[in-house]
Homo-oligomer: 564 residues x 2
Amino acid sequence: MSKHKCTIGVDFGTESGRAVLVDVTDGQEIATAVHPYGDGVIDETLPGTPGTANISLPPDFALQNPADYMEVLRVTIPAVLRKSGADPGDVIGVGTDFTACTMMPIDKKGTPLCMKPEWRNNPYAWVKIWKHHAAQPEANRLNEIARERGEKWLSRYGGKISSEWLFPKMWETLNKAPQVYEAADRYIEGADWIVLQLTGQERRNSCTAGYKAIWSKREGYPSDDFFAALDPRLRHVVDEKLSREIYPLGHRAGGLTQEMAAMTGLRPGTAVPVGNVDAHVSVPAATVVEPGRMVIIMGTSNCHMVLGARENIVEGMCGVVEDGIIPGYFGFEAGQSCVGDHFAWCVENCVPAGYRDEAERQGVSRHQLLEEKAAQQKPGEHGLVALDWWNGNRSVLVDVDLTGLLVGATLVTRPEDIYRALIEATAFGTRVIIESFENSGVAVNEIVACGGLPERNKLLMQVYSDVTGREIRVAATAQAGALGGGLFAAVAAGKEAGGYDTIFEAAKHMARLKDVVYRPNPAHKAVYDQLYAEYLKLHDYFGRGQNNVMKRLKALRQQALAGA
Amino acid sequence: MSKHKCTIGVDFGTESGRAVLVDVTDGQEIATAVHPYGDGVIDETLPGTPGTANISLPPDFALQNPADYMEVLRVTIPAVLRKSGADPGDVIGVGTDFTACTMMPIDKKGTPLCMKPEWRNNPYAWVKIWKHHAAQPEANRLNEIARERGEKWLSRYGGKISSEWLFPKMWETLNKAPQVYEAADRYIEGADWIVLQLTGQERRNSCTAGYKAIWSKREGYPSDDFFAALDPRLRHVVDEKLSREIYPLGHRAGGLTQEMAAMTGLRPGTAVPVGNVDAHVSVPAATVVEPGRMVIIMGTSNCHMVLGARENIVEGMCGVVEDGIIPGYFGFEAGQSCVGDHFAWCVENCVPAGYRDEAERQGVSRHQLLEEKAAQQKPGEHGLVALDWWNGNRSVLVDVDLTGLLVGATLVTRPEDIYRALIEATAFGTRVIIESFENSGVAVNEIVACGGLPERNKLLMQVYSDVTGREIRVAATAQAGALGGGLFAAVAAGKEAGGYDTIFEAAKHMARLKDVVYRPNPAHKAVYDQLYAEYLKLHDYFGRGQNNVMKRLKALRQQALAGA
């Protein structure tokens, strides 16, 4: 039992939510609790209502049930209190972070429409999570119109707004289910909705607004004229369905309500900072509060975050937002859509029965077996190069219709060869992103990795170091999102209450690195430079319009599936 | 027990030999016997001599032990006599066919050097079989010199001599083991060596000479000057190590020797035709003795054979040889290096444990399970295109350094998708070959398939029909090579002895088709036309020098393996 002041960070991920109780003095993670979402990611049929038929979802849908978010609070916060033995009076703040853009229509009271009986059978009334990909037509049209109109904000987002972001998803609902759009009093990010539940206060945060809703501190949202050019019904979308009141990160949104205090076992009035995004909140948790050090959150996908002093325009970045990560800096974000998912695909689909048997005999996972076999190879030995686009390309091509490629296969190609080639492909993709930043004047001298993968896969870390030619350090925490929530909670509580006045102070005391350092092996780097040249040539050939075979194959697939 | 006259065909394959006893009247296959080669394909270490260390082979070696060929005769001929109850007096001929180029150095008496104690530890003294790929440097140099000298015969072989053929393999031995080359009295094809064993007569056949040793009926071998340009020591290679006496197919090489008669249970003097190649001998066994109908032998690789009245020059064909398949016609051959091998690779490496379990529950093979799942798809549905170059490209690019490619993979790509894409890729490769023939004036109106695959894989046959837009019939025999040997044995025996005077007569009576006909589905054909356009674009981009990434990756792999 800690005698120090504590905060709790709650990280709302894709499959589950996780709470961590953290010592404010030194960042020690005293207790953790995880709760999986009961309905998980909803991508085939809506959760059934007794007595009704299942409602099938269109392709590319990915929804969630907001009741699952409340359940995370109800289960995990009491659990960390219990496990740690902490006195609720010593918990000075609760910070949250969320996947984004994960958005929902709510009524006047903040109740999600899908929780109301009259709307629960309509898929568009549910939470569309980040990987909901059905708004691509709207995203394409939005980008086209923005380009035609010469909208200046477009360059802050690498020249392209993703179909994963707020306005394409809202517009999709307006097009496909206008009655839902009409019925919604407001649209809100999950990050802000959970804060509204905790505090009773709607305090929209600058991170999701900046990165997912085209908002900037200096210029606000795009003009009403722009929205009207998309669709006359959208002219007043910001004022009708959103809000122009945006709060900076670390700002105290409010205190815990009586009701929430009763549900969680915390004290009413416990400080709650505004919401934040899982990747962004991880940056200070990985010790990074200054330019030059890139944080890569490696999980199912990769998220690359780096700070800069100026608003440089970088090809294919996801966004640059002033104060979007750390106050006083421009926060740059880029990403790769498919990293851990990639390796999981390989393990699911390319690991023959004999390997499973071998893994079982050795008492290791199939991932570990593949890693072990792949680690015995020298760079270049497998003779393969892959394009890591199994789930499209986020940066720098910003194109979800790109697909995966593997070249160099022979009859002696083995599963571990493909596994290693996929690892390398994601490292090459990261190098493209780093070079894009550096070519635009944003320095990336060193990498700090966090997320699930760096913990588990040493080969991956060494390959990234060899391919990028940079030293890689690893965040000490295995749960950077939740820890980041704890950091901002300490800032929201403030020094007087036993927390900190700035995120710089909080990071200095609460965030740490592991001792391990991955350093590039010059001989490996030399081979990878050659393989990277091959990757780049294929990247540009297939990704920049010389051969749009990937898009045509996708279209043929759609036709075949549609029975055309 | 048949009262009719019979012949025996013996087919020497890659892993085993197979004898079939055939009724000369109607081609009925009365008895079959198979015997696997004791030493199989020797590609890692030479078969051990007691008390000596194993001798490791260099990369790309593929050898055989000629004693295994004799064992096939010793075991299988008595077996088919026994099973059929045929009277040896009714067996009027024994015909053989062989893989090619499968060549060996022999001494004056015809004994392979590897069977002599002083040479058996030298890998170059053994039989190099068709898929021995270590003579690529020699093949490259030979092609370069032939092009520089403007050798006319080059165009008969699609502009390139394969490293699998006779002269590159002989030259490899001269370069790597000159003492073996010197010690060899002669070099001989397995096809001719086995006939030499059966009859005591060296009667080299026009098929292997034409397709594998650059010989033609009208012009003979390349000039001594050409060989001297390769290497002065090769100036008299033909006269010193080969023979200019070449005999047409169906020609009676001689009668069975006393010794062979005793070993096999047949009568001394039983007619033996000159040797033949497995693919080529299958053509009349598949009923084809006229132009316009292409025979595709589908097994580990595909071999495409078609007859023509003129010596057309076709890009990337393996060869055109007058009387090389059927007397009176030019026989055209093309091929694909990797077909059944391809699917086997997929099953070995891309079938996860869950599929094995499912196959076991259903009591089917993993191949069958994949076929069943893949057959449920529509063309285009999997969203993939592959280049079928896992083992290089034989026709039309004639480039063993090309490798496999898969494009279009996503996180929902499943093993059956890859399996189907590989099937389609080999069908696209066949279409490239057919179009190459037709563009050069060699008609291909219909396809007759034979070999192991058409028996087993209906999906494959339908895909080939849909992709090529041609009807496909299937040879009735499951053992076209051995049956073809039986056909030519009947011709060697002649009408007087109860056989036939020509292969046309023999084919008319002894060869049949199955009732099944695969007809192109127009809707599928339309989708495949689009996919084929994608295949062709990738084929040319990666295969014709626009992006030599495959070769560079192979070179990097060699360097890595060499520890460079």
